[in-house]
Symmetry: C2
Subunit: 200 residues, 2 copies
């Protein structure tokens, strides 16, 4: 059985939970006390020297880190990851886009506003994330005006990875109403078999 | 033939060039005028709406973006990407580590110091990157104290991706002397068949 060390309200951890549910893999969830500083303690750093959730333990005791790499591992040879070389690489392209051009703005703004109780207006740290975050949302919206899903017109781990923080972007001060194709896609993801909502 | 739209002095673009050389794939290189603003013009945004280099055009005219996704594409079914599920996923884990925990600090500090001519000392923007960048280097060094390469004790695209900005980290104000295992690994990468140095 898989064992996940994660935080239920974290989008990066939710990606892993959603994939596990949709692939029908049994797993245990161990909730990590992120706000209490657990990811910086010695025991946790032995699990992941980079001090980040999620971490997955495989049935043989091996460990894997980085949410999107865990998605790759879980989805390998499943319908959630296309086999054709270009489609497969385009899934990877969206996963790297998510970690470089989306998550650092949208997830971190959400963390400050939702979990640290910071305001958006007049908060330079959060406001500086709105421009790049909206560029990421606009890019997705333009793509989804012409596609049902991000890659290959089918539901893949690219959709799981991007859904995670996009659907809670309003919690970080982002307005999704200028992105109608994005909103339709969010509902399309929610309608997938085995979908489970994010907790918290 | 592949066609790369890139910048020779960019580590993200160098990754692609190094992989193409080591895999023996013929390619054309089109140098993009990054400092002249080309990545923000309409023609370039039609190539990559995210306005970033590198972009690769495949022999059939399809395009792919995100340096690490291009590495995945090029290395698929080659010795540079292990097939075993866990090793394969560990390569992915390092690629995401590179884009989230390494490149945003080490590459951007280098860009400011080397290409924008900014100083390190007394420069808050650059100095703020030294802490997280050094944490990434220390994590790699600790791993490489016990391993010859990042994954599976063999040279993979994980090594290509991490070599790109690590070996030029001193250009961004990073001192590599506290990381002896990292320096040995850099030389091990340089000794690989087909290795080509970064230009510029």
């Amino acid at each position: 059985m898989y064992r996940v060390h994660g935080v239920l309200a974290s989008g990066n951890c939710y990606k892993v939970r959603l994939a596990l549910e949709q692939l029908g893999f049994p797993y245990q969830w161990r909730e990590v006390d992120l706000l209490g500083g657990e990811t910086r303690d010695r025991t946790f750093l032995a699990l992941n020297p980079n001090g980040k959730v999620p971490v997955i333990e495989l049935p043989d005791g091996e460990r894997l880190t980085e949410s999107n790499a865990i998605l790759c591992y879980l989805a390998k040879d499943s319908p959630l990851l296309p086999e054709r070389r270009l489609e497969w690489a385009r899934v990877m392209s969206w996963l790297f886009f998510e970690q470089y051009s989306h998550e650092p703005y949208i997830a971190t703004a959400r963390f400050r506003v939702r979990f640290m109780g910071e305001s958006v207006a007049g908060n330079g740290e959060v406001e500086s994330k709105l421009g790049p975050g909206n560029r990421a949302l606009a890019l997705m919206n333009a793509h989804l005006e012409q596609h049902t899903f991000l890659v290959a017109e089918r539901y893949t781990i690219a959709d799981i990875a991007l859904f995670a923080y996009t659907h809670v972007a309003p919690e970080g001060g982002f307005d999704l109403t200028p992105y109608p194709a994005l909103s339709v896609w969010l509902d399309r993801v929610r309608a997938q078999p085995g979908f489970v909502p994010m907790y918290g």
